[in-house]
Amino acid sequence: MAVSANMNAIILTAVWGIVMMFGGAFFKQKSTPKYWAIAGLALVIIANCYELFKLDPKGVEHGNLFPVEIKGMLTFDSFNLLFITLVLICTLFLFLLNGRDIEKVGNNVSEYFALIFFVLCGVSIAATYNTLLTLFLGIEILSIPLYILTGSDKRNLKSNEAALKYFLMGSFSTGILLMGIAFIYGGNTGTPTFYINNINLGTGKLPVMIGIGLVFLLIAMVFKVSAAPFHFWAPDVYDGAPTVFTSFMATIVKAGGFIAFIRLFEHAFGTAQQQWQILIAIITAATLLIGNLTAVFQQSVKRMLAYSSIAQAGFMLLSIFAINQFAKEGVILYTAAYSLATIGLFAVLIKMSDYTIDGFNGLAKQQPVLAFTATICLLSLTGVPLTAGFQAKLFMLIAAVNDGHQNWLVVFAVLCAAISAYYYFKIIQAIYFKESTSAVQQWDVTPAFKVLLIITAALILILGIWPSLIIDWLYY
C-alpha cells in the first residue's frame, strides 16, 4: 500500500476552497471570484494530471506534492486518478460555461465557489477512500455543501423546499450508511477493521451481520446515485435547485457517488458478487423503468433532465451489476460522456427564458449554434453512434453481457434506451422542426460561450470516435 495517496487534488481543492471563502471578503466586483475559481481549478487539474502522468503501472506514485502519512486510508490507481481528472475537467467546463450564471444565483458568489471546491474535495476522497471512515467522511463532505447550494436561491420557495427535502432524506441515508458500517465492522471477524479490502466475507453464504451491513451500505449508495426506489429526492431537488447547481449535482456529484459505489463493491464485496448481484439487477431494472418512463411525460425540460439523469444512472448501475474490466472502462467513459452532454445541455437550458419543451421551438432559427450543440448532447444522451454516449452505453452493455447472469436485464436496458430516444428526440423536434410560438427572447450569449459549446460538442464527437483517448490512460 502506497505511503500516501492522491493528495494533490484533495488538498488543493480544500485549500482553494478556503482561499475562495476568504476571498469573498476582499473581492470587489462580482465577477472576480469566477476568474479566481477557474484559475484555481486549472491549478488543481494540472497538479492532478502531473500526478497521473508520474504514476507508474506498479501503482507506486512519484507525483505527490504532499507526502502525508495517512496509513493507507486512501488508495489510488490510474482508475480513480483518471476519474478525478475527468471530474475536475467537467467542472472546469461548468465554470467556463456557466460562471456568469453562478453569479446570478445570489450575493455570496465566492462562497458558492468555495462550496463547490469542497464538494470536489469530497468527491476526490470518495473516489480514493480505502476505509469506511474515509468513505463516510468523503460522502459527508460531498453532501453537506450540496444542501447549501440547493437552497442557495433563498427567496425561491422551491429552492428552500428542495434544500430541506434533500437535507432530510440525505441525512436519513447517512443514518443508514452508518448502520451499515457498524454491522460490517461488527460482523467482521478476525482482525476487525474499517479497511475495505480486508473485510472477511467468509466463504459460501455471507455471515448475517455482513449481509445486513452490505444491504444497508448498498441502500445508502443507491440513494446517493439516485437509483430507484431511492431516487425520490432527485427530481424534486434537481428541479428546485438553481439550474447551474442542478447541472453540477446531476453530473459531477452523481459520478462521485458512482465511483464510491464501485470502489466499495469491487474491493469490499467483489468476491461475493453472486450474492448481491440480484439486488443490483432489480434496482437497475427499476431505475431504468421509472427514470425513462417518468421522463416521457415531463413538460419542463429541467425536470425531464432530472428524470433522464435517473435513467442514465440506471445504465451506469450496469457497471456495478457486472464489476469487470469493461465495467470500469465503461464507467469512466460514461462519466465523461454523460457529464459533458448534460453540462452542455444545461448550459443551453440556462439561457432559455422558458424551460418547457415548447420553449425550445424554433431554437434552430434563433440560435443555430446552441441548437446544434444541444442536439449533439441529446444524441449523445440517447446513445447514437459517433457520440461518446454510444461508446459509454456499448461498454456498459458489453460488461453486463460479459457477466452473463442476467441477460434479460440487458435486453430490458436497451428497450429502455429506446424509450429514452422518445423524449430526447422530442426536444430535437422542438429545436428543428417546430416554429417558435412565443416572442423572440433576449439572449445573453457571448461568442466565447458559443465557442465553448462547440468545443464541448466536438469533445463528445471525438470521444465517440476514439474513446481510447480516455481509456488508454487506464493502461499505459
Partner: protein
C-alpha cells in the same frame, strides 16, 4: 490485421461522400450546392464503377482496408468489397446522381443542409455495405438513419414529424436489439493476436471471427430473433411494415427514393451478410416461419396496394411485396434463389426510384398524388407516360425488363424450397398486374380532366434521369449475365456454409 493505409476503393467510397457532405454544409449559393452535390455523387459513381474492374471473386477478400480502431476491444475499421457489396455500392452510387438530376429543379429551403444530409446518408449506406466489422457495421447502420430522420422531419409533408418519429423509434429499437446480439456474439469470439502472437484483445468484432464463433442451437435461436427483428423492421417484412407507407408518404421525394431504393436493401444485405452465415442452425430451424411471414406479406401488401388511392402509398405497398419476396427467397437458401435476389436487389432499386421520379414529376406539376383525381395524363405528357409504362411493366417483372430474371429465379428458388409456398407467393404476379395496370389506366389513360389539362411534358433533366433508368432496365433485362458474375462469390460463399 494488416495496417495497410493505402487508398483503397472502399474507403474512398465511404469518405468521399462524407467529406463532400460536410463541405456542402458550408456552401452558400443554392446553385453551387446543387452542382457540387451532383458532381461529387458522379465522382462516387465513377469510383464504384472503377472498383468493379478490380473484382476478384473471393468472398470477403477482394478490396479490403483495415485499421485497428479500438484495439482494446478488438474493433477495427475494416471494410471490404465482395460481390454483394459491389452490386449494392454500385446501386447506391448510381441512385444518388439519378435522384439529384431528377430533383434538380426542386427548391428546398436550406438547400445546403438538405444536400449535405443526403450525401451523409450516402456515406452511411456505403459504410453499411462495406463494413466487415460488426461494430463498424452497427455504426454505419445507425448513421444511415440519422440524416434520413432529419431530412424527413424537416422537408417532409404535413404529418412528417409523427411519421418520421415513429419510423425512427421503430428502427432504433430494432437496431438496439441487434446491438445486444452483436455484443453477445462478440463475447463468444476468440482472442485477437498480433503478428507476434501476443493477444491484443480478448475478443474481436471482425466478421470472420463472428462467423467462426461457436454458438449452440439455443444461443443461435434467440440471437437469430434479435438480429432478425432489426433487419425485418428495416426491410420491412410483414408485420413490421407499418412505418413504411406513412414514412414514404410523408418524406420528400428525393429521400423517399433513397429510402425505398437503397435503404430497404440494408435489411436484406444484413440478412445475407450477417444473419445467414452466423446462425445456420437457427435459420434451418426458423426458415419456414420467416418465409411464411414474408409470403403473407407479399400477398397482403399486394392486396393493400390494390386499394390505395395515394400513388406513394401504392408504390410503398408494392415495394413491401417485392421485398417480401426477396426475404422469403433469402431464407429459402437455394442457390438459384440467392442468385436471383442478388440481381433483384439492384434492379428493384432502379425500378422503384424510377416510379418515384414519375410520381414526383406529376406532383410537382399538379400538386396531387391521388389516383382518383388524375386522368388522361398520357395525352399531355406522352414521354412521361412511355417511361412510366416501361418502368411499370418492369415493376411487374415483364420479360426483357430487369426484374424478370431476378423474380423468375427467386420464385423458382422458393419453389424448390416448398412448392405450395411458391404457389401462394406467385399469386402476387397477378395482383401486381392488377394494381399496376389499374394505376396506369386511371392516371394516364382516359379523358383529360380539369386538373390534368394544365399538365405539361416533364422537364429535360427528369427525362434524362428517367431515360438512364429505362436504359438500365433494358440492359440488365436483356443481358443480366454481368450482374450474375459480379455476385457469384457471395452466393457460393453462403451456399457452401449451408452445405
Amino acid at each position: 490485421m494488416d495496417q495497410d493505409i493505402s487508398i483503397t476503393f472502399p474507403h474512398v467510397l465511404i469518405f468521399f461522400p462524407l467529406l463532400a457532405g460536410l463541405i456542402t454544409f458550408f456552401l452558400k449559393k443554392d446553385a453551387t450546392v446543387k452542382s457540387w452535390a451532383l458532381f461529387s455523387s458522379i465522382i462516387t459513381l465513377c469510383v464504384s464503377l472503377g472498383s468493379l474492374y478490380y473484382a476478384n471473386n473471393k468472398a470477403l477478400s477482394g478490396l479490403t482496408f483495415n485499421y485497428e480502431w479500438l484495439k482494446y476491444i478488438g474493433a477495427s475499421f475494416s471494410v471490404s468489397l465482395d460481390g454483394m457489396g459491389r452490386i449494392l455500392t454500385l446501386l447506391t452510387a448510381l441512385s444518388f446522381p439519378i435522384i439529384f438530376v431528377a430533383t434538380y429543379k426542386n427548391q428546398y429551403k436550406n438547400t445546403n443542409s438538405f444536400y449535405g444530409l443526403m450525401l451523409l446518408t450516402q456515406a452511411g449506406l456505403m459504410g453499411v455495405f462495406l463494413a466487415s466489422d460488426a461494430l463498424l457495421f452497427y455504426f454505419f447502420w445507425e448513421l444511415a438513419i440519422i440524416p434520413v430522420y432529419f431530412l424527413c422531419s424537416k422537408w417532409g409533408g404535413e404529418k412528417r414529424i409523427q411519421a418520421t418519429f415513429k419510423f425512427f423509434i421503430y428502427t432504433f429499437t430494432g437496431s438496439l436489439l441487434m446491438l445486444v446480439g452483436i455484443i453477445y456474439i462478440y463475447l463468444q469470439t476468440a482472442a485477437t493476436q498480433d503478428a507476434a502472437g501476443k493477444i491484443i484483445s480478448a475478443h474481436s468484432f471482425a466478421i470472420n471471427y463472428f462467423y467462426a464463433a461457436q454458438l449452440t442451437v439455443d444461443q443461435q435461436s434467440w440471437l437469430f430473433w434479435l438480429f432478425f427483428i432489426a433487419f425485418a423492421i428495416k426491410m420491412p417484412v410483414f408485420p413490421f411494415h407499418t412505418w413504411q407507407p406513412d414514412t414514404y408518404e410523408q418524406s420528400p421525394s428525393a429521400v423517399t427514393m433513397v429510402l425505398s431504393g437503397v435503404m430497404v436493401k440494408m435489411g436484406l444485405f444484413g440478412v445475407v451478410r450477417w444473419l445467414l452465415p452466423m446462425f445456420p442452425l437457427a435459420v434451418a430451424k426458423f426458415d419456414t416461419v420467416v418465409i411464411i411471414l414474408s409470403v403473407i406479406g407479399i400477398v397482403y401488401a399486394s392486396l393493400l396496394a390494390i386499394k390505395q388511392d395515394d400513388l406513394k402509398r401504392l408504390v410503398a405497398y408494392s415495394s413491401i411485396a417485392h421485398i417480401g419476396l426477396m426475404s422469403a427467397t433469402i431464407f429459402a437458401t437455394k442457390q438459384i434463389g440467392l442468385e436471383g435476389v442478388m440481381i433483384q436487389m439492384f434492379n428493384h432499386g432502379i425500378n422503384i426510384i424510377g416510379l418515384w421520379i414519375v410520381i414526383e414529376m406529376m406532383e410537382q406539376q399538379l400538386g396531387v398524388r391521388k389516383i382518383s383525381q388524375l386522368s388522361g395524363v398520357a395525352h399531355k405528357a406522352p414521354v412521361l407516360t412511355i417511361m412510366l409504362v416501361v418502368i411499370g411493366f418492369a415493376n411487374i417483372a415483364l420479360p426483357l425488363t430487369n426484374a424478370f430474371v431476378g423474380e423468375f429465379m427467386m420464385f423458382s428458388g422458393l419453389f424448390q424450397f416448398n412448392s405450395w409456398i411458391a404457389v401462394v407467393a406467385l399469386v402476387s404476379i397477378i395482383l401486381a398486374a392488377v394494381y399496376t395496370l389499374t394505376m396506369v389506366q386511371k392516371v394516364f389513360y382516359g379523358q383529360v380532366n380539369a386538373l390534368t389539362t394544365n399538365m405539361k411534358e416533364i422537364s429535360v433533366n427528369a427525362q434524362i434521369a428517367l431515360s438512364i433508368i429505362v436504359v438500365a432496365i433494358f440492359l440488365s433485362g436483356i443481358y443480366p449475365q454481368p450482374l450474375f458474375d459480379l455476385t457469384k462469390d457471395t452466393v457460393t460463399a453462403i451456399i457452401t456454409r449451408f452445405k
